[in-house]
Symmetry: C3
Subunit: 215 residues, 3 copies
Amino acid sequence: MRFNTIFQFFVPKDDKFITLFEKASTNLLEASEVLKELIVTEDVALRNEMVQQIKDIERKGDDITHRIFEELNKNFITPFDREDIQSLTSSIDDVLDNINGACYKIKLYKPKKITTDFNKMCECLNQCAIEISIAVYELRYIKNSKKILQSCININSFENIADDLYHNYLTFLFDNEKDAIELIKMKEIMQNFERAVDCAENVSDVIKSIIIKNS
Amino acid sequence: MRFNTIFQFFVPKDDKFITLFEKASTNLLEASEVLKELIVTEDVALRNEMVQQIKDIERKGDDITHRIFEELNKNFITPFDREDIQSLTSSIDDVLDNINGACYKIKLYKPKKITTDFNKMCECLNQCAIEISIAVYELRYIKNSKKILQSCININSFENIADDLYHNYLTFLFDNEKDAIELIKMKEIMQNFERAVDCAENVSDVIKSIIIKNS
Amino acid sequence: MRFNTIFQFFVPKDDKFITLFEKASTNLLEASEVLKELIVTEDVALRNEMVQQIKDIERKGDDITHRIFEELNKNFITPFDREDIQSLTSSIDDVLDNINGACYKIKLYKPKKITTDFNKMCECLNQCAIEISIAVYELRYIKNSKKILQSCININSFENIADDLYHNYLTFLFDNEKDAIELIKMKEIMQNFERAVDCAENVSDVIKSIIIKNS
């Protein structure tokens, strides 16, 4: 029996999942930090480099997702309901997917201008990623649920802000953008960001449901 | 023990779910009635008021959805399969979401003209909501499944009508609308309505599956 | 007891599902063969005829899907996990739905030109359908999983090719197409094809997961 195996034997099974969730949330946070820079960069070459960085982070996220589902298949006893583990994993993955989708469209569509509404939206997304990270890292100490629930409330507030941002932006776009192709570009990119925030709210909902069941 | 609690004790558990489903279907029906008026109104201020009404109804629907999921978490014994309860709840919610999405787009996009195809589509949606309501209210007397199945058949017919309406409208739109931005607006709004009808068909499918399992 | 009933009695239950999966995969393969012809046909009347053929194949696919779900409701013992049976069924159905959706849009939108990128995409889809068919027909001999896993690897390679095709096509489209309405048409049709390939990858993922659990 190698040290590794002994070690694994003593660490409670739960730990594996929580460690993977922590990795997933840190990964998402990293993407949202790159995104904040990407969205204000006017240097196209540099921007495309950051699009690639986010693509790499998204692939790393896929690996983490994959490992969580593998662990689910291997373990009969899990720290939370199997369904909640699946939902938490998928919803974190969905946030990242939408961020990656938006960035890829920025690279492919080459929009003529990226307005400050996009910065605000990405700021919102970054705040959501921070709160998700806080909540996920607190899942180890689930009995002390106050801090976790506060993060969930904060995510909901950011989702409301993002919702208003999105609707105001669409009104602005349809009122002012006369170039249909530019309108299509901006609308789709912003939509992906808005969906990313929606998915962050799904993350918060799953976490809340985990807290309720385990308190 | 207060009266309320005693009362709850004697009412079979099943009842809670069915009562909530009834509320959800009545709520959807209400939205579809407002929608029928909204779609023929040319007064923009009045129309936006009705968009807000539908938004409020949609929020109320979210609360009902939330309560059904809470009850699911609390109750081990449920009147139908847990999965069917989830699907029925989500599919009713999806109809409402798509109605709300279409209306919100009408408010944001300010389309130049809303043709009679939209009235016909919303008439279809209203008919679906009526049949859903009939079917859901009959779920209490599930052994008498004939009436329920007739409503399901009717929903399928309306879905076929809506499908034709949608495809004819798209053909018309791509043949005639030369303003790309107007085309985008109309296409997206109509798409949301068509999806709402599709989701109504999902409601019908779940109800049929409940009937089959419980007969 | 008629011969049919006796026969059914001796055939293991598993068989029903695998036979239905085989039908579903053959049906998908047929659609992808028609598609390959449809996409290179310049005769609009003939093309619309093939769109109708694919619509018919899609309906047949719906019937097969329906029968699999009925069997799931009737049988307590299934050859694979119930969830995997559902996912395999739905994912094959999704490929077909997206092929049908793309073809329907070709009929409704009447795009001015269909470039060779579309042929390449449909070639990819056909290859995926061939590999899905191989993998599904091997599910009877699941212990010999090497051939199945090779097909899954091949599907992943085709999905990567399709992904590149899609992104290059979008870049080309946004760089060159100045007619916004034509751009909308081409973008949506190509998107449906790309989603069809994505769904083929989902089929491959479910099959891999079935292999892992049953080996």
